[in-house]
Every structure is written in C-alpha cells, then in structure tokens.
C-alpha cells in the first residue's frame, strides 16, 4: 500500500537553516547538511530545501547546501525559493535536486512548467501554491504571500497539472506558523480536483493534525519544519502515531 509521506522542510538563508533548530547534541546547529542527516536517520521520507532569501549571493550557498545534502542522503530532495528560469532549475538539478519547486515564476510564466517538465519529466516539477481563504474559494498569493495573484487555488492547481506539474505543494497562509492544524478543507478541495499528489503545508502543531490532513484533508503528503525540531524522535513518533490510526507510513 502506498504510504503517506512525511516531508521535512529546511528554510535556509545563505547556507544556514533559519528557523530555530533546537536539537540537543547537534554540533553544528543550523547546518542544513547536519540537520538533513538527522532527519534521514529518523526516517523522514523526503526533504525540501527552501531558500527563503533567494538573493544572488545566497544562490551559491544554496548550491553548496544542495550538493552537501545530496551527497549523502538518498531520498527525494526538492529545492525551492527563487527559481525563476530554466537556468535556475538547471543549477538546482546540477547540484543534486531531484525536484524543483516553483511559485511566483509559475504564476507569471506558466509555460515554464511545461518546459521544465519536458526537460526533466513531470516528476521533477513541483508547483508551490500559497493560498488563503477568500469569498467562495481560496485566493492564491505570489511573492511569499505578499501579492494577490487573482487566481483560485483549485483552478490554478488544475492548470498547473495540465501544464506538466507533477506535484502540488499547498501552503495555507492562514495557518502557517499558527500550529493550529492544517487547512483540511482547502487541502481536500485541491487534492480532489487533481490527479497529481498534493503535499499539505502550514499549521502543523501536533500529531493529530497530520491524522486529520491525511483523512479529512485527503493529502498525499504533509510537510512541516518546526514540529520536527523539538525532539530527536519526532519523525519516528509521528509515524508510529499515524500507523496506530490506520494511516499507511514507512516505518
């Protein structure tokens, strides 16, 4: 049976993980490769490295980070943040990314999805959709939630799929950072509208939030960052909790 995937997100800036990392015994706190290694040992299914600054200076650091992580960890690795062109995607893939995640650039130039899919295959193209609840639907935002894109999340997800995207990474702006649970209604609306997998993100607070998003939310995968920072066994404990609730996981 296909497992529900648990994905850890590393938010990096200039080669350093920026969200509080509180692992005990982690010698190089903030070192993405060390953190990735840790998650991998704990049984994470996939990693996402998100360059939260995406400046030109941080690009080189990002390539080094991807390279370091990819060198020793043999699970799927997605890279996102500031990928605006085929050249940016090439650099990430060259450094060792298996998938690239596009957000603002895909909204601005949807044909980019098709070009990347024909170059690397759809499985390598992830469309990140940041959305919040709005009258009659879910409004998509670009530029890290700064600019309304005048698109509905369900409609945009369908278009992204038809243009060659292989997965949707759906973040609830309303829930992000609140630890109040995923937006299961929005996740289900998008997941049921497309045939490609939907990764739910934003709002993970406790293990039961993951149970909810995999059942009510119809998510294929769930992504979180800080929840995995608090304990060395969080990934394993979360998966054991999911299994106890009848959700198939890789343990």
């Amino acid at each position: 049976m296909l497992s529900k995937r648990i994905i850890a997100c590393l938010d990096v800036r200039n080669g350093v993980v920026v969200k509080g990392v509180q692992f005990e015994g982690l010698r190089q706190a903030g070192d993405p490769a060390a953190l990735a290694r840790r998650y991998n040992t704990e049984g994470i299914d996939e990693l996402v490295i998100l360059d939260v600054t995406a400046t030109i200076e941080s690009r080189r650091a990002l390539a080094d980070t991807i390279h370091q992580v990819a060198q020793e960890i043999f699970i799927p690795l997605t890279v996102g943040g500031g990928i605006r062109s085929e050249a940016d995607a090439d650099a990430a893939v060259e450094a060792g990314a298996d998938k690239v995640s596009l957000n603002t650039a895909a909204l601005k130039t949807p044909e980019l999805l098709t070009r990347l899919a024909s170059r690397y295959g759809s499985q390598a193209v992830v469309v990140a959709i940041d959305a919040k609840r709005a009258e009659g639907g879910y409004a998509v935002y670009a530029r890290s939630g700064q600019t309304a894109a005048s698109r509905d999340a369900v409609e945009w997800a369908r278009e992204a799929e038809s243009r060659g995207a292989g997965e949707i990474l759906l973040t609830s702006i309303d829930r992000d950072g609140t630890r109040s649970g995923f937006d299961c209604e929005m996740t289900a609306a998008v997941s049921n509208a497309v045939s490609i997998p939907v990764i739910a993100s934003g709002g993970a607070g406790g293990f039961d939030d993951f149970v909810d998003v995999f059942t009510r939310g119809c998510a294929d995968a769930a992504l979180a960052a800080s929840i995995f920072h608090y304990s060395e066994s969080a990934v394993h404990d979360l998966k054991a909790h999911l299994r106890a609730h009848g959700i198939p996981v890789r343990l």
Partner: protein, 219 residues
C-alpha cells in the same frame, strides 16, 4: 566500469551519486561503440516512454550484443519498462523485448471503486515473489520510492511485486537482465542495498569471465 546510458530523459545526477557512494566506477558513453569495455550497463530513466526512442538501432544492437555476451543490464523506471516488448504509453516505440509482456497504464480506481491518483508517487512495499540474490538483505514489505504511471505485468520473471490498484512488477530479473520500477537511488538504505546486490552480481560475472579466459588459455 559501469556504462550509464544517457538518452536525455531527466537527470542522471542521483544515479551517479548512488553508484559513487557504493564505490562503483561509472561512465556515460556517448557512442554505442564505447559499450565494449563496460562490465555492466544501467539504463536509468524518468519521464515518457517516447524518450527511449532516442536509443536508436545502433544503441539497441550494441546493448543487445553485450547482453548476449553475458553482460549484466539493469533498467530503472522507464529504463526497466524499455526492457519489455513495449508500452501503451508510446505504442509505436518498440521495447528491447528482453522481458515478456507490455507495460500498461496503472488503474485510476481501486477494485473497491475508490479513486486512485495516477501517477503513483511515493514509498510503497516490495512483496518478494521468489528467492533472489537481488533481494538479499531486503525484508519482505521493505519500502522503496516510486514515481510512474505505467508498469510491467507480473510474470514468472517478477522477483518482487507492488500493489497499487493492481499488482505490478517492481523488480524483475531474467538471467543477467534486471529491472527496478522504483528508484533505488532515491530509496534510502533499502535502495542502496538493492543496487549493491546488482553490483555484486556484476563482480561475480567478471570473475566468471576471467575464469573462462584462463580456462581457454590452458593448453
């Protein structure tokens, strides 16, 4: 040296990395003639079956000649699908025909009628169908990473099957020809072990060649 065939279907970085991590020397030949010195051939692949059409008659003949001579061949994902007779994904593109059957699209409904997403993306379990050196050290139910919409049928050549709406061939072997529908290079510890098991088969092949060579020189 392992020849890693590049037919432009996606990136080979992760396969190269995994081979390097296992200490296997590898190269990407640019001409079919360069296969002569290969101890094994790996055909990786992601994306569409159509892409395999870029391996023209010269490549096909060179690969088939190596297989004929006993050289181990591993196809991964679309590279495995290419080992069959063909695929409904691109009916006009012939496969190598080393494995029996054709690849079909995965069903978008469970037997129960429940909706299934296609592509099949993520970690799913291997159910061994027979004892095989490729499965050494792999627990029944071990999970590996898949990303595909088409798959080969379960036949007597299937070493391990996986269930997703239907049972399909996840690991196949016929003589020295093997196929992995999942991505061993992306499947963590289990994936590296499966790849290592294939590589160990190569060294036993090289030893055998060397032995034959010595025997033939005996007066």
């Amino acid at each position: 040296m392992i020849a890693l065939i590049d037919y432009g279907a996606g990136n080979l970085t992760s396969v190269r990395k995994a081979l390097s991590a296992l200490g296997a020397e590898h190269r990407t030949p640019t001409m079919p003639g360069e296969l002569a010195e290969a101890q094994a051939i790996i055909v990786p692949g992601v994306g569409h079956f159509q892409a395999t059409a870029r391996l023209d008659e010269a490549w096909r003949q060179a690969i088939l000649a190596k297989v004929e001579a006993g050289c181990p061949l591993l196809g991964v994902c679309v590279g495995m699908q290419w080992l069959y007779e063909g695929s409904t994904e691109a009916p006009d593109v012939p496969g190598l025909g080393l494995l029996k059957g054709r690849c079909e699209r995965l069903p978008d409904r469970e037997a129960s009628g429940a909706r299934l997403k296609v592509p099949h993306v993520g970690w799913n379990s291997l159910e061994p169908c027979r004892k095989s050196p490729l499965l050494d050290g792999i627990e029944p139910g071990a999970q590996v990473y898949f990303t595909h919409s088409y798959a080969g049928p379960v036949t007597e050549e299937t070493e391990a099957a996986t269930e997703y709406g239907t049972r399909f061939a996840a690991l196949v072997a016929r003589g020295r020809v093997a196929g992995m529908q999942f991505h061993p290079e992306k499947s963590g510890v289990a994936g590296l072990r499966l790849l290592r098991n294939f590589l160990e088969g190569i060294s036993s092949h090289s030893d055998a060649v060397e032995t034959d060579h010595r025997l033939s020189r005996r007066p």
